[in-house]
């Protein structure tokens, strides 16, 4: 089957065309579930950032989370990524209840099942693009040579030209850096990739390419994506949109997915 709308995406080898967003309901297993999650920070009075969030995400879903600054989007993403724990309520990630896991288990979960993409890329300047990608496997107990091999593969997958893979990040363009960061998130083949404003520091063309890349991974690998964005145009390209307002889900385009 040939895609109807081929668009150049900056030399992506395997997913050179953006996939047509599929709106049908995913029938995969539940990979994320929040039930009655609240998050508050200590203070006088305590600041409650999230109030009673219920959210279920199934394998292979593409979810956009939109909302104003300070609405609690990032806190929600951190809880989904096990970087933060709910004050109350339960969070199940990949079938495991987060509150019952030790630091080592949670870290293992992040090392193997969860990938992160950040607005500021967070690449280490002292290392080449290749080493930065290999860092995605550093804490998964994989030998250096194998990390390197998989990192080269992942960099090929995100379409970073071969001559750039030994370059330090500061010599790459914004779009190239974000490709490296996506390769790092993807290199461990995680079930879920959480992206916090992945196009926030990029111009619109580069931003479009990055979203095309993520959609390609979703289509080809079945990776679940949860993407925080300000950009409503980007959100509209994803099958499911969730709007957060004042720490609550104010709108969910596919509420029926919630069991």
């Amino acid at each position: 089957m040939i895609d109807a709308s081929p668009v150049a995406t900056g030399g992506l080898p395997t997913s050179s065309a953006p996939p047509a967003p599929h709106r049908e309901r995913p029938d995969g297993a539940v990979v994320l579930r929040l039930a009655g999650v609240t998050k508050s920070y200590p203070g006088e009075p305590p600041v409650e950032v999230l109030h009673g969030i219920d959210l279920t995400v199934r394998r292979g879903e593409l979810v956009a989370i939109v909302g104003k600054s300070g609405s609690g989007k990032s806190t929600l993403l951190h809880i989904l990524g096990t970087l933060d724990t709910p004050t109350s309520g339960t969070a199940m990630i990949a079938g495991l209840e987060v509150s019952r896991l030790s630091d080592s288990d949670l870290s293992g979960l992040r090392a193997r099942r969860i990938g992160f993409v950040f607005q500021q890329f967070f690449l280490l300047d002292g290392q080449s693009a290749l080493d930065n990608v290999a860092n995605g496997l550093l804490y998964a107990g994989i030998a250096p040579a194998e990390r390197r091999r998989r990192a080269i593969e992942a960099l090929g997958r995100v379409g970073l030209p071969d001559h750039l893979i030994e370059h330090p990040p500061q010599k790459l363009s914004g779009g190239e850096r974000q490709r490296v960061a996506i390769a790092r998130a993807f290199v461990s083949r995680p079930a879920i990739i959480l992206a916090d404003e992945p196009t926030g520091d990029l111009d619109s063309a580069a931003g479009r390419e990055i979203i095309d890349l993520l959609l390609g991974f979703n289509r080809d690998e079945g990776t679940t994506f949860i993407i925080i964005t300000h950009d409503l145009e980007i959100a509209a390209r994803l099958p499911r949109q969730i709007e957060i307002l004042d720490g609550r889900i104010s709108h969910d385009s596919c509420p029926e997915v919630q069991a």
Partner: protein
Amino acid sequence: MTARLRRIVRPIRSEPVPGPRVEPSRLHPIDLLGIGTIGLRLRRGRSLLTVVSIAIGIAAMVGILTISESSRADLMASLDRLGTNLLTVAPGQTFRGEKATLPEEAAAMIARIGPVEAVSAVGAVEASVRRTDAIAAEVTSGIGVVAADLRLLDTLHGSVATGTFLNAATAQYPAVVLGATAARRLGIDRVDVTVWLGNGWFTVVGILEPLELTPNLDVDAMIGYPIAGSLFGQDGTASTIYVRADPAAVTDVWAVLAQTANPANPSEADVARPSDALAARAAAADAYTALLLGLGAVALFVAGVGIANVMLMAVLERRSEIGLRRALGATRRHIALQFVAEAMTLAFLGGLLGVVVGVVVAVGYALVQDWTVVVPPFALGGGLAAALVVGAIAGFYPAARAARVSPTDALRGV
């Protein structure tokens, strides 16, 4: 078909099916070494300064230990060469505080003690020695005159630099043998010249090599007992008796020496062992070494505080890296280990540099002093170990701080 059915049915369940337990996060030790050097490579100038500060402390300690070992080895070699079996007997003080004398037959009686190998005596002579009679009698240059018996040089294991020692013939005549220092002060470096001794000319027949165990004889001019008796009225009493004992029985000889030399008043005879002075020098050097090592330890402590400071700064500067690593699956322990590894790498490099510099400086110093160079292995190993311990301690607090950094704050706060 069943599989497809199950896939459809599963989402309807209210609870997600628990997946297999997740494998905990892991970091290979070799990777720890790799990430422990990232910070050093990123901030080379700062790392170099920290390494140098550690190196100074370690170099000081290794240098001091090497110098002290070399110096001690030199002293011990001297002791071995000179022997610790030479004893001296000298008249002390009487009960009333007056200067005592030893009986005339003291030397002969000591010679009868079984384990005594050799005995020699010198007796003080009331005279001064000068280069010529034109020099005033008061200008003695601190040179004393003693009557020496013919076996003195053998007993002391000494040797002549030039000429000969006194013999049965020259002991009868105005002939003199000069100690090394006495000869230098008189400006004499060859035999067969004359010096003005007492009231007449004496011919220099020999000049001695320095006597390391009995340096007081280096400033003496030695003449025979017979001529001392006839010209200066020396009555044959000894001012010092040198006793060479069987090395295995030194303490036994020592115990009976005063009694034998002066049976009537044993308390008026002072017995000493000249080699004790060398041993005391070694002990004094040890005390200095301990003091200097203490100073080196202070330098090392200051360097450790420097490392802790640099690492604390690194923790603040690298918050986003810490957050990122936590997101990539690092445990708190991995983060702490990374910073401890970095501090220990800094300290290890400093230790390595310090050991090299310390040894080079100490070997140079020992060579200049003409000592046998002794590089103590425990100083090398100890230097590196001390550096590593300092690094580990200095890195501990910053590492604990790094481990406590909240990943969410670290990833947000850029």
